[in-house]
Symmetry: C2
Subunit: 161 residues, 2 copies
Amino acid sequence: MLRIRKATLDDVRVLREMILEFADFEKLRAQVKTTEESIARDGFGEHALFRALIAEWDGKIAGYAIYFVHYSSFEGQGLFLEDVYVRDGFRGKGIGKAVMAEVAAIAIERGFGAMRWEVLDWNQPAIAFYEGMGATFLHDRKAVQIEGDALRGLAALITDR
Amino acid sequence: MLRIRKATLDDVRVLREMILEFADFEKLRAQVKTTEESIARDGFGEHALFRALIAEWDGKIAGYAIYFVHYSSFEGQGLFLEDVYVRDGFRGKGIGKAVMAEVAAIAIERGFGAMRWEVLDWNQPAIAFYEGMGATFLHDRKAVQIEGDALRGLAALITDR
């Protein structure tokens, strides 16, 4: 029996566990810098940056979603689905789709015309799953990042601060 | 002479004009749904979703940047650069790079390890410009979107609300 509910501060520990499981799945564990403390502050503090849902199957924690409101200068406010994850052992029960349906309903309730997320290009099962629900892939967009020395080097171009 | 400053409510009209110029440049004018009213609310209201910088060259409005704080479950808070645009007639003066340097400095001041943005894959001059500053391209990520009937169809899968 599936139940989807809002995450609370009491879920921070299991949320962090699942984020690490998800990072292992995506082969990105080395990237994880978030901690129970930072998750508590950023999701459940006074100036929360994200919201989270918890999926329970027969009372056991089966998965989660994290989303936030993002902004597009062309399209305005929109919902960005940062993560949707179903734990090993709970897959194939429709939990992922049910969680995404909840997030889609939240987007509609808030008057947003679209929901966006990202997928790793080698994750063919996920791509097929998203295609099946009518999602479109924005093939002409590349994600770009600057960090570390390059970020500091760019900032250092300012001479008048 | 270049001056970069924070945008205020008085800049909403010119900000909207430049967003439309940028959309024309990206061949995405049909996507623009934001208005002066929505920009004033989302950038300068009580719950601002973004911040904007204005670049002036010899006192004339030459370009802008829009950025906001986004969230990654792996990396935590980060700065997302939604737009950086320099008007026709003001290009080739280093304004774009100076604006990006300001945003990079803001990211560092806030303790963020990285700044992210997106580029259209046909915009080779922009790609070369970003490569020159040491940015990396996250080639394994695809942007996905669901909207309209597909979004409503997904939300309608919920039966118990």
